[in-house]
């Protein structure tokens, strides 16, 4: 077995205890806390006998370890419970709404990477310059911005004052018809259908929420890029490359930047965690029909299973994403595989 493959397998093995931990926390949140889930599931109009019946059907009268096994079995079969408000299995609800959230999150992340990485690089290559100071101000201000507030202000400026943004209600104005569902991403689906008008309409709806989310993720990415680039530029191999007479450009981009990208990729994992949380707020502000607003709607009506399903799904998504980032990392950086062995 090659050391690199072993490194990847080792990293996947490391994720197993975390997944088990996530499942345990999920179980604790649904079953073992004060408050009777049977009462929640029975709804407001339930009497004592129907609650007892639901307790029996949910298996809540069994001892905790046995309940845990049933819970794990349900999760393995993809059963996250039933949502009271929609009457659908939670997993189906989440699956139908996930593309909306992913489209928003990915566009926002791409946007913020496209701004933050060049900004961080420029700030690091010209320390003390105007752009360095601008970067520092942006980084400090960026972490102080409440996402939901940025969204509200952007709506006021671009929708109410300037009138150039469409009304902040969902993914598509009601005069357009949803593109046929292929990927669930409106931009891709409408492009595949060759429907330029719907594509533009979907894009117009997406711009403001994506900018809101991007502003939020800009700060950590710019900060990390700047720090990593500064570190790489002061490394020995850069000095050697300079001494060997390579041009400033080659040294900066081929030597320093490639190395600086590695910690940035790791930061992206953490940024993604924040983004998944911020997503909930942005979706509420823009009435975006993703899983975040699904969870908020469920919270309002105490739809217990839906909220916990959402929390678990987010955790699994996040664990899987971190795993993906680390495996990619192992593939890019040949040193990692050897460390693990």
């Amino acid at each position: 077995m090659s050391p690199r493959l072993r490194g990847i397998l080792f990293r996947i093995a490391q994720a197993i205890p975390v997944v088990i931990g996530v499942v345990i926390i999920g179980f604790v949140l649904t079953r073992a806390l004060p408050g009777d889930p049977a009462v929640y599931f029975a709804g407001a109009a339930a009497d004592a006998t129907s609650i007892a019946e639901i307790r029996k059907t949910l298996g809540l009268d069994l001892p905790l370890p046995q309940q845990f096994l049933i819970y794990v079995g349900d999760l393995l079969r993809g059963d996250f419970g039933q949502s009271i408000s929609t009457g659908q299995p939670v997993i189906a609800d989440l699956a139908s709404r996930l593309p909306a959230s992913l489209e928003l999150t990915l566009v926002a992340l791409l946007l913020s990477c496209a701004i933050a990485i060049p900004l961080g690089v420029m700030a690091a290559t010209r320390p003390g310059s105007l752009i360095d100071h601008a970067c520092r101000v942006l980084v400090t201000a960026g972490v102080s911005l409440p996402t939901f507030f940025t969204g509200v202000v952007l709506i006021y400026i671009f929708y109410y004052l300037l009138g150039i943004a469409p009304s902040p209600l969902g993914r598509l104005d009601f005069i357009y018809i949803e593109p046929d569902r292929i990927t669930g991403f409106y931009l891709i689906d409408s492009a595949l259908a060759g429907d330029g008008e719907t594509f533009l309409a979907a894009l117009r709806q997406l711009v403001l929420p994506a900018i809101t989310l991007a502003l939020f993720t800009l700060a950590p990415i710019a900060r990390m890029t700047r720090a990593a680039m500064l570190g790489a530029l002061s490394a020995d191999f850069v000095r050697t490359a300079r001494a060997a007479g390579l041009t400033g450009r080659t040294v900066r981009y081929t030597y320093a930047f490639r190395n600086a990208l590695l910690p940035v990729v790791t930061t992206l994992g953490m940024v993604f965690s924040f983004t998944l949380g911020a997503n909930v707020l942005v979706e509420k502000v823009f009435a975006w029909p993703g899983i975040g607003s699904y969870a908020v709607e469920a919270l309002v009506v105490s739809d217990y299973a839906a909220v916990q399903g959402f929390v678990l799904a987010m955790a699994f998504l996040f664990v899987a994403l971190n795993l993906l980032i680390d495996v990619t990392y192992t593939l890019i950086d040949p040193r990692i595989g050897f460390e693990a062995s």
Binding site: S144, F149, I155, G277, L281, S302, M314, A315
Partner: protein
Amino acid sequence: MSATTESSGTFSHIGYVLRGNPVTLLSFVMFAILIIAAVLGPLLVPYDPLASEAANALQPPSWEHWFGTDNLGRDVFSRVVTATRLDLMISISAVTLSLMAGSILGAVAGYWGGWLDAVLNRVMDTIMAFPLFVLAMGIVAALGNTVENIVYATAVINTPFYARLVRAEVNIRREAGFVHAAKLAGNSDIRVLAMHIFPNALPPMMVQMSLNLGWAILNAAGLSFIGLGVRPPTAEWGIMVAEGANFIVSGEWWLAVFPGLALMFAVFTFNLMGDGLRDIVDPRQRT
């Protein structure tokens, strides 16, 4: 121990840092404003934050109502100032709770190590495996929708940061000379841990705490923005932005903008102060 010379040294160092860094000084001034608003706010405001006056609803900012009035005719300025106490209380109690829990867990794990350490690390890894805001939502949903549960949820998601920090600080000093000396002098393990090792972790903890406070306020305001914890008509920044958001599309900007700015002011203060404290505590980490 020469306490006087040491503390005067510390003070002159703080004075030196503050002179060299007016931004940190500014952050302390901003912090003082926040504290005054939190302690005296309800006494200073011109109107009752809950008193509605339907005839005077949705008035733009004026001399009578500096920040305008909301849809029920309540004075937005009075509500923004009054809300400071609740917002600061939620975040400060949450951060204090996680500081205490993190200190105890981290110190025990770092000092005794072994299976305790391994278990704690696993638990903290698992908490960090959740998107933290989402976990907070799940905790509040499971415990029940009250302000206390917002505090507990925020405390839980902050605890790993402190536990890891304290664990690292305690662990590197476990075998230090002064620890052996203290033990040989007959101090018990717990006493050595609490009186000799733990105080070393306090300076970095203070920095972490200040940076965390800003984040805790954002988190709590975010939770109440989506309808958790604080209920209307209570004045709280997050819920005020949420209520104001309904009026932003028809142009009544003052309802959402002023509480939002107050929130940003608070978060910005704590972030600046955290950076400043880090310069005082650990000059090497200056960025």
